[in-house]
């Protein structure tokens, strides 16, 4: 008797599995891109894995562990920060790097937003290419961190907790954008840097033996300000905003629709083929309003596989 009941239960399970198969398949098809890794708001540092991206307003996909907003006022956890860099406006002045370094007291030798001189092929003119952290939606660095010292926040930011980092540098090895830096020695301190207690929103005071990176200035953003590099750009080349609101703003006070800006100007994401799903978009360097950078390479430039 007992055996037959077990067999009966097994059949039920098989039938149930078959019935749910089309639904699962459906969901699989509806899924866009790669599943997002997001942090659980209740316990920071813990990642939860969404098996699909819920559809937000206006058909914009957003990954959020929280339910979709009922009111128009958005909490931080319901935002999806995004950056657009207009390469046709960047003249390589490195004001963004300097402002970032000053704001975060970035240790010497590190450039959290670094301006590269790029040339896509011998026939094309070289151009300047500012590279912040790409805040990937499929972040290679977050995957490999052994202690949850870096994780994906619900608002899209890949944050770094230097008070937990053990300094194994696996995240630096995993990052394809060379956007992560290490404090090889004790960083020089100033009273201003030491004045604030450590928080991941500002990421200082800095300590020896840990990894650092661009974090989209969550402290400034929380105060309703633009990140330091965006504010500092004299050309207004860097836009920052919320993908859910579909609005991005630059230092010139121009606020434009993110979706229109990217779709009308052939916006792209750097090394899309790697599948990291960056949250930084680039507009191609055409119709530039400044002279191209010098063609000869800099003396310190070596290596690098990207043309």
């Amino acid at each position: 008797m007992r055996l037959s009941r077990r067999a009966f239960l097994k059949w039920i399970a098989v039938l149930g599995g078959t019935a749910s198969l089309p639904a699962g398949l459906n969901r699989l098809i509806r899924r866009k891109g790669v599943p997002a890794l997001v942090a659980d708001a209740s316990s920071p540092g813990r990642l939860i894995h969404l098996d699909h991206l819920p559809d937000g307003p206006d058909g914009v996909a957003l990954a959020s562990a929280a339910p979709l907003p009922a009111q128009p006022a958005l909490e931080t956890s319901q935002r999806r920060w995004v950056m657009v860099i207009d390469l046709s406006r960047c003249d390589g002045c490195r004001a963004c790097t300097e402002a970032c370094t000053a704001m975060h007291f970035v240790p010497p030798g590190q450039e959290w937003i670094k301006v590269y001189k790029m040339q896509d092929n011998p026939a094309a003119a070289p151009y300047w290419f500012p590279r912040p952290c790409m805040q990937c939606d499929n972040p290679p660095c977050v995957k490999v961190c052994p202690v949850s010292a870096t994780w994906k926040r619900e608002d899209g930011i890949v944050i770094q907790d230097t008070s937990r980092c053990i300094g194994c540098r696996f995240c630096i090895a995993a990052c394809p954008y060379s956007a992560r830096y290490f404090n090889w020695v004790e960083p020089p301190h100033t009273p201003e840097e030491l004045s604030r207690p450590y928080s991941t929103d500002w990421n200082y005071p800095h300590v020896k033996g840990v990894t650092e990176k661009c974090i989209f200035c969550p402290g400034l953003v929380k105060e309703g300000k633009l990140p330091a590099c965006v504010q500092a750009c004299p050309m207004g080349a860097i836009y920052f905003g919320d993908q859910v609101e579909d609005a991005v703003t630059n230092s010139q006070g121009e606020t434009v629709r993110f979706s229109e800006l990217v779709s009308n100007n052939a916006g792209y994401r750097f090394m899309e083929e790697l599948g990291t799903e960056p949250r930084v978009y680039y507009l191609p360097p055409r119709k530039r309003i400044y002279p191209a950078p010098p063609a000869e390479s800099e003396p310190a430039a070596t290596g690098g596989n990207h043309p």
Binding site: P146, A301, G304
Partner: protein, 524 residues
């Protein structure tokens, strides 16, 4: 040397096998003193690194892993030989393994300890090491490494210890020399072994089960070590065959390490009766087979990207084939794989002996060739600037270089008959070359890839873009190597390095033992 007291307690055979426990000449103390000095120097270097940070190494943001991680991969690789010797050879019933299994397991034990230490040395914040347990994230390959290495360490320590119990019991019962703590240690470790039929049966069962369990664990260890690299997007690491590639390289270097250890112990403790030429021959076959498998994987790993020369892979491939790492890479392939395989094959090729009869390969012409080659090399070294004014200096240098190569090849051919007559020497030279090459190959896997990231290296000092290890890294590496040898040496002073009871069984009743082995093996 051998005390008369020892002769009363033990048979001649046992006296010989226990000689490593009793004979401690000035050579031994000198070696231990030297090793301790190297380790002390390494500790000084590490304390400097702790004080000032990893900035005292040659590592920077681009090449953020270097010699320490190379050591890690190397030591973990060498540790694979334990599983090979005691599990695979046990299951396949290779009886000749008996005198050398303990040596192999001890290598596994010592190299795992040193290998596991290396990532800790490499850590920026070793004070936060407990975070790995408190906040450990299983999706990180580092956690896989920790799990699999600790499992393998536990397993191979058992594999080393359990078959040693009968020998420890023998020492407990009859070994009266040395301080009292030693006999107490033997008493505890012998676990009340009396050699009853039931105890023997249990021991055999444990070993048979362990032999099956340890193989997948050992394979997993180097697979997940390779995945530290394979799970990143980096060109040169982003490879699907890294797991088996690393496992094959690990077995190759591990088997070679056993050959070195066999020769060292045979020479130091006069174990010629137990570690015979046939052991070197058989181990040589193993090294040849593993070397060929490894060479095949290397070929597959490099040819597929090199054929396509995709944008991102070009950088490290050129660096390795013809750029700054070319000399190191080709050294690992020619001197680290091809030459050892050749040296191990040599004693089996009969015509090599006749090579020595040719007048061209007599000692005198060979020495003349060597002297000429040295002279030309010296000329090449100094000729860089002073002779630069001479026209066609590059052509002259190129021709001279080829002459040196030709003379070197000639001298090498002259050495072949010597290696043919001394097969053990050939095996030792081959095994040392394999391990030197293995270390360098791990370096060549790690560093060129890091020096060629996706984005160009711009706006930084040149020394940040090129990795040059500092004295701190070399000192710690030397200390790790010394620590490995020291653990190994002290082990051989505490326990017989050749199993007494297992070799006795093989000598006394080879046929019954073989049958027993087979019936104990799984699936039989």
């Amino acid at each position: 040397m051998r005390s008369p007291q020892l002769r009363e307690q033990f048979s001649d055979r046992e006296v010989q096998l226990l000689s490593s426990l009793t004979e401690s000449g000035p050579g031994f103390y000198g070696l231990v003193g030297f090793l301790l000095a190297v380790i002390a120097w390494g500790i000084i270097a590490y304390s400097i690194q702790l004080r000032y940070g990893l900035g005292v190494t040659g590592l920077r943001d681009y090449v953020m892993w270097g010699v320490y991680i190379t050591n890690f991969v190397f030591f973990i690789g060498v540790s694979h030989v334990g599983a090979l010797m005691s599990a695979i050879l046990r299951i396949t019933g290779a009886e000749w393994r008996r005198p050398i299994t303990r040596m192999a397991e001890a290598i596994t034990f010592a190299s795992l300890l040193m290998g596991a230490l290396m990532p800790v040395v490499d850590m920026g914040r070793p004070d936060r090491i407990l975070n790995v347990l408190l906040h450990g994230r299983l999706p990180s390959p580092i956690l896989w490494d920790i799990l699999s290495i600790t499992t393998y360490l536990t397993g191979s320590t058992l594999f080393l210890y359990v078959p040693m119990i009968p020998d420890i019991a023998l020492l407990r019962d009859r070994f009266a020399q040395g301080p009292a703590w030693r006999r107490r240690l033997y008493t505890v470790l012998a676990l009340g072994w009396k050699g009853t039929e039931e105890q023997r049966h249990r021991l055999e069962t444990i070993m048979a089960v362990m032999a099956v369990l340890i193989i997948p664990i050992a394979v997993s260890v180097h697979t997940v070590v390779s995945w530290i690299f394979g799970m990143t997007l980096r060109a040169g690491w982003n490879s699907t065959i890294f797991g088996p590639y690393f496992v094959s390289g690990a077995l190759f270097s591990g088997a070679a390490a056993v050959v070195t250890a066999m020769a060292a112990f045979r020479w130091a403790y006069h174990l010629e009766d137990y570690i015979t030429e046939s052991h070197f021959r058989r181990m040589g076959y193993l090294v040849i087979a593993l070397g060929l498998i490894y060479a095949y994987f290397t070929f597959a790993e490099y040819l597929t990207p090199a054929y396509k020369m995709a944008t991102h892979e070009r950088g490290y491939l050129t660096a390795v084939f013809s750029g700054p790492y070319a000399r190191l890479f080709w050294f690992t392939q020619i001197v680290g794989v091809l030459l050892p395989v050749l040296l191990l094959t040599l004693p089996r090729i009969s015509w090599v002996r006749r090579l020595g009869d040719l007048p061209l390969f007599q000692p005198r012409p060979i020495l003349a060739a060597l002297a000429t080659a040295t002279g030309i090399s010296f000329f090449l070294l100094i000729s860089r600037s002073p002779v630069a004014a001479v026209e066609n200096v590059d052509t002259i240098r190129t021709v001279a270089l080829w002459v040196v190569f030709a003379l070197g090849g000639w001298s090498f051919l002259g050495l072949l008959p010597i290696f043919h007559t001394w097969p053990i020497t050939a095996a030792v030279v081959a095994s040392l070359l394999v391990n030197i090459g293995a270390w360098m190959k791990r370096f060549v896997i790690i560093v060129p890839t890091l020096e060629n990231p996706f984005l160009p290296i711009q706006n930084v000092p040149v020394i940040w873009a090129i990795y040059k290890p500092t004295w701190v890294e070399w000192s710690i590496t030397a200390a790790a190597l010394a620590g490995f040898v020291l653990i190994y040496l002290l082990f051989s002073k505490l326990f017989p390095i050749v199993s007494i009871w297992e070799t006795r069984e093989a000598v006394m009743e080879p046929h019954t033992v073989i049958r027993k082995e087979v019936s104990d093996a799984p699936g039989a």
